[in-house]
Each structure stands twice: as structure tokens, then as C-alpha cells.
Symmetry: C2
Subunit: 457 residues, 2 copies
């Protein structure tokens, strides 16, 4: 494989870059070595892991050295994915739940990509960083305040990056709006809305043979996400999945970089949807009708920011509804709303106090990153999620190659992920306001924005 | 005037009806006496008062016996309004701020309509009820928890009605959705949204000669609402105007009738819009640039209900934006959203997880009240606010004629109006949850819905 030729050279180069940048601020861009390869190990080769593995295998600057999973079937599917892209077979770690510990000890890995059930992200990221590996983890980074601090502390101590792979930050409309925010079209930001409004009932339940629907089984009898994700709806009441909304909002509000989340309140509705789904689909006699779900069907969280803004975050996954991330970005000069695909900007929109279509803005404020990668190279033509998975992986790989902080870093991982445990605590205390820890330890005041500030990654 | 002929008969009849129904529950409909007249006094004849006066003067079942205001110019405009409709001139009370106390002592008034600045609603309503008059008051009914309790206690003790004139309850789309809620189309309700999103900058400031805009004056130098309303933005930080959103939501959620608001949290953004408007319109040297506004530009309130539901209420009056009351009604089977004018109902909407236009539902679920009054009689053809002012006045008058509780009663006035002081308290305590008083003293458990339950009023 031609792309393996430079491994020795790469090892030497990264070692040098590593030394050179050790004394530099993390956000300073190091020297780009264009023929570098990044050597990745993948923990978690379920459906999501396989998809990201495929994107990685398509890149000439990535070597897939090892994969790890507890499920032999998923491992074999993952090996097929790698093979189909013409890559040599990675080493396999499938010897039980702790085998990832062996994988992260390999000395030929630069970084580890984690696409396992939520509760495994933290121990796997910690283990990888302790073995000197950078980390990219699917959302959320961890589930408790303590574990999130553990990630921050370990990342700082080991000087390893821990990037949260929040792909919605790269959505094309979202990046155009970020562009508009930075160019001042909305004036000073006041209020933002976002959320995860996605009917997941057919994800939380299936027939044990297919990933989506067809039955009301979960846990041991389920397949794919229903095996583990549904249990969170039984045990927890809070915003279980805030990052798809809060990621983009964080970039627009300069969270951790001149601004920060200060406190939140959360309020949950009654829990009806999941039980109703079991009764409707499985019949009133199905044993799962006796399962009690703690998760309120809709959880509404309101966050207050240090610079004054508020953010309303919805979590809405148990009810029939069209998909929407509920975005709204409002400032002193106007606002954008995703649900009516419209914008209003005082003095610019043609009619006073009337919405206009967002369509022309989508084009006029297209972010340089999107322009570049949908241009001549057309790199992202074949990637899913509107290309956002290409971008998030690209950001991970390019940051590793440059030995710089990724554009969504450990502090973002922390401030996004901590919303879940804080919202659970707020709800358990009757919507009491809960303070955000300052994971940057005051550095948010001086830090500068790093997301979407260049056209490379 | 022919409509005055029956006054003596009416006096006798109402006295009888009053006796007969004194021992009946307030919600029981008394005998309809179709030729009854209702004798009204109007306190507050500013622009809003004049408009409602005109609607009242158009009715053959209303006598306008007296009007009261401190502003001679407004009084003369009001007299013109009455005269134009062919009515005899009412007696005038214009002898200063306390002259309303003389007006409510007249023994030829059945009820008083209050359309004065917010802070006067409470003392005027109390004075009227103590003099045996029923009350219709513009929103909000009162500004503090103590004053709201005073209204409830006085209404109960004097057995006088105190209706809050929340006209948005009668909006045609809102009543169609209420119809859909009651017919079970949304399943069990989970989460509702509403709010007052209305750029009021040209209402809060004007040139002292016209009601809307043209300058950045307010208070003594202002005209119409800017004379008094703007001061609330200086002194208070909270949801100052919740009822237009919360009224319709309350009817759908059976608030005070099987359900109630339990607690709320409120979060305010920084305050920018009003100062910016003064600078932009009046220049950086205008003396009003030194005014400090306490009101956050956007206030987000989340209410928790006894039956589990949540309600998100927005208050957004200082920024450029299209008008919207932000309605969303979501249950276990689907949802309606006003901003995209769409609905999704599982198993009924043609495409799974796709919005469909609300348009056919607007027709199919048109409320009987709207059907009746837009039918052959076409009574509301000339009324404003989409006819909603006709309906709210009609409800007031018809309830008086029947000597029954109005469909939006003192307990609704209380639970809607109290959101303002509770939200102010929550914001001042860092978004702490604040409990709603139970103004019904437990009767909410047994009370039955009364709004929109007939096709008369």
C-alpha cells in the first residue's frame, strides 16, 4: 500500500513536532507535514463505528492499525469495511470487555477513536490518554461531573487531546449562520435555541434482528443501540443527548473562549411515549409493558451564559414528530430559525418585521470549509450526514497531523457533556438552578475561538 | 334609542336572576333573558379603551352609562366614539386619578370595564367589586402576588365576577387547536410553548404626539402606552406580559380545572435593545441614553404542571423580529407549531415524520363559536384583532346577562397574571424555581372546563 511507505518518516517527524510544540500554546498551529499518516485504533465497531471506519479507510493519510469490539459479528463486518476500501487488515481485539486496555498499549497508535455505548467513553478515553494516545470520542464524552473532570485532568496531565466528535457543528446551514454571527449580521447575540428532537422509539426498541423497529425488545433481547441506549431512559431523567444542539450553539456563543455556561434549569414532562409504544406495538400483554421509564418525554433546559445570553435546549426523543434540532439564533439585529427556514435582519430583510427565506444566506455565507471541500476536489460527495462526518473526522485527523488542539477540544467536550448530569440534578431538585463547573479554570476569559477559523479543518 | 326601552324590565329581571342563582354553582348557566341589557362603565378611554368602547356601543344589549379617564383629550375622543354609534352620551368622570371611585358607586352599573395602565387594574377592580359591580379587566389583572390574592378574595367575598379580557384565547387557529386537543388528536398533552414575541420598541418610545414611534420619548414626554408602559422595562426584570400566550395554553391544559401550574423558572438575557434603540433613533447625545433598563431583552420561563406537562413561555419585546406568539402544542400523538403553520399527527399525517400544512385543520376543526359568528349573521365582520375582541367582549356581556361565571374567570386571571411576579422573583434568585399559589384552594381538582364549551360565548 503506497500510503504506508512513509510510516518511518512520519514517526520521526511527529516525534520532532511533538517536542517542538510541547512548550507552545495548544492552539498554535504547528508545521504542516503534508505526507504525514495518522495511525488510528477503533474501539467500538457497531454500526456507527463501521461508518466512521469506512470514512477513515477512504483517507490516504490514515492507517487503521487496530480495531476492538466485544461482538464478533460486528468485528467481521468492520473487517469487511476496511478490506473493501483496499486497506490491509487491522489487528483485532475482541477478547472481552477489557481487551481495549491491551489495544491502547500498542506503541504504533497515534490516536484512538471511540464509538462504544455512552458509559464506555470515559474509561476508554482515560485508558488511551494514559497510554499516550490522543482520543476522539463519540458524544457524550462522559456521563457524570466527576468523570468529566477526570477527562479534563487526564488530558491536561498527559498532554493528550480529547476531542468530542460533535459532527453537527459542521452542518452547512449551521456553519453559514456561524459565519453570519461572526460578521455581525445578528448584532450582539441574546438568545439561542437548540435541541435534540428526534423520534427514537424505533431505535430504542427493535426485534433483536434489525437496528430499527420491528419489535419492542431492548437490552439483551435487542440489537444495536437498543441493547444499551434504552436503559438510560429507564434509569435517568434529564437531557440525555444535548450535544447535537449545544455544539453549534457553543461555537456561536464563544463558549470556553470569552464566554461560558454559568447555570441551567431543567424541567421534564411526564413519561408516556415509551410505554405507549410498547403497548401499541407489542400489545398490552407484552412483558415490557411493566418496564417503568424515568425519562420525561420532553426535557426543557435553559442555560444562562456569563455574557448574559440564554440558551433553551430541548430533548424530545419518545414521541412521534418530525426531526428537528430546533435551532434559533437571535441577536440585537435579528434572528434565524430553522423550523421555518427563515431569517429576519432589521434594515436588511426587504419587509419590516417579516421573515425572509434563509436560502440566499445559505449560499452567500457558505463557510470557507464547505466551499473548499465541495469545490473542485468534491471530497465529500460520497459521505453521509450531509458531509458532516467527513468534516468531523477531517478535523480530528488534520489536528493530529499538525499536533495542535482540535477545533472542538476537551473543554468543549466537558461543557457540552456536563449538561446531562446537571439537568438530571436540576430535575431531581424540582428544576433548581445548577451551576456549571468551570472546566477551563478561568482560561475561558483569555482563550480565543478555534472552531471554523480556517478553511483547512 | 330602542335598546333603552327595556331597562326597567331588565333591572327587575336581573335582580330576580341574581337571587335565583345565588345558591347555584357559579358555572351553572342561568336562564337566558334575551332582551336583557348590560349597563357598563368604562374606566380608561385611551386607544385601547376607545376600541373596546366602540365594540360595546355596537351591541344592542349594552348600555354605556359612564366613562372615566384623567385625560380630557381621550375623554372627548371616547365621547365621539359613543356618539358615532348612535348612543346617548355617557356620564363623564374626569376629575383626577381617584374619580373612578365615584363612578363605581353608581347604582345603575352592572359591570365595569377597565382599560387603564397595568398598575391601576387591581385598585380599580377591587373598588368596583366592593361596590357590587362585576369587572372585566385588560391584562394583567394585577402585578403582585399579594394584589392577585386580594382580587381572588374580594371576588369570592363580594360574589362579583372578575374576568380577565385575554382575547387571544379566542383566536381562530387557537380555538381550532383547542378543539383538536379536546377531540384527542394530539393524545395526552406533554409540552406546550407560547409567548409574547412582539417588537414593542416603537410602542415603548414615540415623539409624544403619535402612539407609535417617531421619537425616543416616554413617560411624561411620551404619548399613549409609552407614558406608563416603558417604566415597567426600567423597574422590572421578568415576563411582563405572559397572558397572550398563557391564556390559550391554559384552556388546552385545563388549568384550574383538573390541572394547575405548580412551579416556574425564569431566565433573562442581558438588556440591550431599548438602549440601542434610543442611541440608533435619538443619537448618542439624547438624554434618554442614560436610562438604565432592568428588563432582559428575552425572558424564558418554563412552567411545570400538576399533571406533568411543561410550558415554555417567551417574552421578547425589545428586539427587531416578526410578531409571533410562539405557539406549540405537543402530545403523545403529535404536535402543532405556529411558526411553520404546520401539524404532524402520527397515523394521520400522510408522510411519516413529515410536517403537513395546518390549513385543512383550521377548517375541519373550526370551533362552533367561530362557525356561528362567521355564518349567516356575520357579526364580527367589522371587528379587529381577527375578531377576537368581539369574542372576548361577547363572553363578558353574555356571562353578565346570564349571571354566570365568565369562561375566563378570576382564577384564570390569577394563574395567568401571577406569572409576572413569580418570574421576576425567579430571575432575581438566579432562576430559582418558584411555586405557584393555588388560588382555587384545591378546587382545581374538581372544577370542570368552562372555556369554549358552548357556541354562545
Amino acid at each position: 500500500m503506497p500510503k504506508k511507505i512513509d510510516r518511518r518518516k512520519f514517526l520521526k517527524t511527529t516525534a520532532l513536532v511533538g517536542t517542538a510544540t510541547a512548550m507552545l500554546p495548544r492552539s498554535v498551529v504547528g508545521e504542516l507535514v503534508s505526507d504525514q499518516h495518522v495511525r488510528l485504533g477503533f474501539i467500538g465497531t457497531g454500526l456507527r463505528g463501521q461508518w466512521m471506519l469506512q470514512l477513515a479507510a477512504q483517507r490516504s493519510d490514515v492507517d487503521i492499525a487496530a480495531i476492538c469490539d466485544i461482538d464478533d459479528h460486528m468485528i467481521s463486518l468492520a473487517l469487511d469495511v476496511v478490506k473493501r476500501q483496499g486497506n490491509p487488515p487491522p489487528d483485532v481485539y475482541d477478547n472481552g470487555e477489557e481487551d481495549f486496555l491491551n489495544m491502547v498499549q500498542r506503541d504504533d497508535l497515534d490516536a484512538v477513536y471511540i464509538a462504544t455505548p455512552w458509559e464506555w467513553h470515559h474509561p476508554m478515553a482515560i485508558a488511551a490518554m494514559k497510554q499516550g494516545k490522543h482520543v476522539g470520542t463519540e458524544v457524550p464524552a462522559a456521563l457524570t461531573v466527576e468523570d468529566i473532570w477526570d477527562l479534563v485532568n487526564t488530558s491536561e496531565r498527559t498532554e493528550r487531546q480529547c476531542m468530542i466528535m460533535e459532527n453537527v457543528c459542521y452542518r452547512r446551514d449551521v456553519m453559514a449562520v456561524l459565519n453570519m454571527v461572526r460578521q455581525g449580521l445578528f448584532g450582539e447575540l441574546l438568545h439561542l435555541q437548540c435541541g435534540y428532537q428526534h423520534d427514537l422509539r424505533h431505535v430504542k426498541f427493535n426485534d433483536g434482528e434489525q437496528a430499527y423497529g420491528g419489535g419492542v425488545e431492548f437490552g439483551e433481547k435487542g440489537y444495536s443501540e437498543s441493547k444499551w441506549r434504552t436503559q438510560h431512559s429507564i434509569e435517568r431523567n434529564g437531557d440525555l443527548y444535548p450535544t447535537h444542539g449545544v455544539g453549534p450553539v457553543s461555537t456561536m456563543l464563544d463558549i470556553n473562549r470569552g464566554n461560558r455556561f454559568v447555570h441551567l434549569t431543567s424541567t421534564a414532562t411526564q413519561s408516556r411515549g415509551l410505554h405507549k409504544y410498547i403497548v401499541d406495538q407489542g400489545g398490552p400483554e407484552h412483558p415490557n409493558t411493566s418496564v417503568e421509564f424515568k425519562l420525561g418525554d420532553i426535557v426543557t433546559t435553559v442555560i444562562k451564559c456569563a455574557n448574559g445570553q440564554s440558551v433553551m435546549v430541548s430533548h424530545d426523543t419518545n414521541s412521534p414528530r418530525p426531526y428537528s434540532l430546533n435551532f434559533r439564533v437571535q441577536g440585537t439585529k435579528g434572528l434565524w430559525m430553522v423550523d421555518n427556514d427563515s431569517v429576519y435582519l432589521q434594515g436588511r430583510s426587504p419587509e419590516e418585521h417579516r421573515w425572509e427565506s434563509f436560502e440566499p444566506y445559505r449560499t452567500d455565507y457558505d463557510h470557507p470549509l464547505w466551499k473548499r471541500f465541495t469545490g473542485a476536489e468534491n471530497t465529500i460527495g460520497h459521505t453521509g450526514h450531509g458531509g458532516i462526518d467527513f468534516f468531523i473526522l477531517n478535523a480530528f485527523v488534520e489536528s493530529l497531523k499538525r499536533n495542535v488542539s482540535p477545533p472542538i477540544d476537551i473543554y468543549d467536550a466537558a461543557s457540552m457533556s456536563v449538561i446531562s448530569p446537571l439537568s438530571e440534578r436540576s430535575i431531581s431538585m424540582g428544576s433548581a438552578p445548577i451551576k456549571f463547573p468551570d472546566f477551563t479554570r478561568g482560561k475561558w476569559r483569555m482563550n480565543k475561538p478555534i472552531f471554523g477559523t480556517n478553511s483547512e479543518y
